[in-house]
Symmetry: C2
Subunit: 402 residues, 2 copies
């Protein structure tokens, strides 16, 4: 009954509570908690046509077991399409299709983490990564961020501190594009400096990029989102991407691009974990790429989430200007607010639930016990009216606590 | 880079080779290796209708993230349908939908195995379970089987041997129904005696049942396949079932029924492993249950695989009678043959590949380095003609080696 240490279990149980999943049972609740894509931008017509065509062909492989590594035409399309467009030169043997990016985190962890190993993460960082690394009995050390991204002098200091006590970090986990939860976009100079720091410290980088395509065109261009992996001449970066935010999350199709040796080990780990992903889902995603659906809907998705971001910022300005602080997100799904002095995320959460609005506790994203002055607000899933009303309720809850 | 010890890696790499996947690249090869279901019995019309209806409804949840535990109506249907029919009384909190039964093996292992722990397995046992437990750094001790199933005096002796060296087994992994690879059907008295032995030794039982519904009606009834879990009054059995063999494997939908504490921990482990299974695939399977598709096609599947078994046995009798030995399988996908004295599975494999037929090495299923006198032949995926021709080629390869 190990592998889930008591601390990890406690953390996870509270994290589940914090996702606001319980919200589903509260009538009238507006959830600003879960980072769900908006179903109104799912390409329903295309998916109907694609699934009908796939099944009409009656190719047994469509519903059969498949290769552990993934459906070959999907991988080949990724290589020549999405990855090439992002500046990543990779080959078939470097890619594995995963059951969501969460499985990429798990597989990378299985390959790289020995129980007790140290993993460097951003402060704050994605709570799902914390769960994955905790579950593999990794220990995490947090490194602060500034407006440009990871604070590199702080990274050096953290590594020096570990060294002084005989510890060594295995890898650093980062989300340079519109980070979950803080929304940060790491600057290009900072990305290159991080790669150089990784070289200097002989660290691997685990780069998670679920939101790279969801940049807001009023303030950001695709060039700003160029992955660190694109400049990885040494084979130091493991890159995770996903179709969850740019197509639909319910098919659970994502991918890992890794240095070949790591990809080989990750394939063995995946074989032991679930043999292979869904053949049907992978073929649906492949057809969506092949028919140009993913490229065609991308501008609409960017506009959709950009508009929701604007609505949320307007509502925050109208109700909480001067009381909460935030940096306007340049892409992604989240707005990360700093609460007024003296307002604690846990106390606010309980009050907000009573007011029928939910969010995720800032402290859920910190591996050092801090972050109680923050809250993560998702603008992705709710509609404009819900966003405005939800922020209104949150503002009342904050004011009552303030 | 641990978690895959060198030995485990070597094993897995050879196991991959042994699955005969490489066969896909040999033109004209007849594969009797992989245990694939037959696409000609997939319910294509039903699946076309189900997917069209699901997408026509445009319910966002169909393609959204879902609960880690699984799609509630699917779990509820399993409880009142499949599980109740098999004599298993369980509740919602005891069930988790998994990404194939392989994930059930992995999650059970994650919850139960500490590195170095001993797991008891049958000799031979399913190679995917060996991979899963190896990957979690479990050590395995094999227990022989006889015609009735696991040899219980040998189980007692194995446990006593472990005790004498200060070791204790965490659980025993068994496949009572038409075991992969040996095809054994554990007798009912033996099942009850195993449950009693587990009580006596305070062991958990991990019961894997992918083939329970594929019994051959000429020699077996549903009653013969009653799971051990159905008689588990103490909460000692973790039960794995799957839709891969009774519907299609390409949707990766399976389930675990576990004592509640273990189910809770497995849910947390799944959250860290892949967050949730495919919402779309789970809804397709639910609709197939709800429309009665799974029940309706079951007799046809049984007849289909029974006929293939007969064809394979006739071919073996015609070409190898007196040279190889086997027990006629009463269900499932596999025929397990003992090779003539002096014929080694590895040597035969290479010769068979040259003759363009593949199988899986017997030794791939043994955790003690033995089993080289056996071969596993799958009759599930090939058609009648391929089975006859494949056995003819195998016979020639054996004769040349003999």
């Amino acid at each position: 009954m190990n592998h889930l240490s008591h601390a990890a279990e406690q953390f996870q149980e509270s994290a589940i509570r914090r996702t606001g999943m319980l919200g589903a049972t509260v009538p009238g609740l507006i959830s600003l908690a879960a980072g769900y894509p908006a179903p109104e931008v799912f390409p329903w017509d295309d998916l109907q046509s694609i699934t009908a065509d796939l099944l009409a062909r009656r190719d047994g492989n469509t519903l059969q077991y498949g290769a552990t590594r993934g459906y070959r035409p999907l991988i080949e399309h990724l290589l020549s399409g999405t990855l090439a467009a992002r500046g990543i030169a990779a080959q078939f043997e470097d890619v594995i299709i995963t059951t969501g990016s969460q499985q990429g985190l798990d597989l990378a962890g299985r390959v790289l983490i020995d129980p007790g190993d140290v993993i460097l993460v951003e402060l704050p960082t994605y709570s799902g990564a914390i769960s994955a690394f905790h579950n593999l009995q990794g220990r995490m050390a947090g490194v602060p961020q500034d407006a440009e991204g990871l604070d590199l002098p702080a990274l050096d200091a953290t590594i020096a501190g570990l060294s002084a006590t005989g510890q060594r970090a295995k890898f650093i986990y980062v989300t340079p594009n519109f980070q979950n939860p803080a929304g940060n976009l790491m600057s290009r100079p900072r990305r290159l400096a991080l790669l150089e720091a990784a070289r200097r410290h002989d660290l691997l980088i685990l780069e998670d990029d679920p939101y790279g395509s969801i940049y807001f065109e009023d303030v950001t261009t695709a060039a700003d989102t160029r992955p660190i992996k694109a400049d990885d001449a040494e084979g130091r970066v493991i890159y995770l991407g996903s179709f969850s935010k740019v197509l639909v999350p319910g098919l659970r199709v994502a991918w890992m691009v890794a240095p070949r040796m790591i990809a080989q080990k990750a394939e063995l780990a995946k074989q032991a974990a679930d043999i292979c992903g869904s053949a049907f889902d992978q073929r649906i995603v492949h057809s969506a790429l092949d028919r140009g659906v993913v490229d065609r809907i991308a501008p609409g998705l960017r506009a959709h989430y950009q508009a929701k971001r604007t609505v949320m910022e307007q509502a925050l300005t109208a109700t909480l200007a001067g009381r909460v602080k935030w940096t306007s997100p340049r892409g992604g799904f989240f707005l990360w607010i700093e609460l007024p002095a003296g307002v604690d995320d846990c106390a606010l959460f309980d009050r907000a639930l009573k007011a029928k609005v939910s969010f995720v506790l800032g402290s859920a994203f910190f591996v050092n016990g801090q972050g109680h002055q923050f809250a993560r607000l998702a603008f992705s899933g709710a509609n404009h009216e819900q966003i405005s009303e939800g922020i209104g309720r949150l503002a009342a809850a904050i004011m009552a606590t303030d």
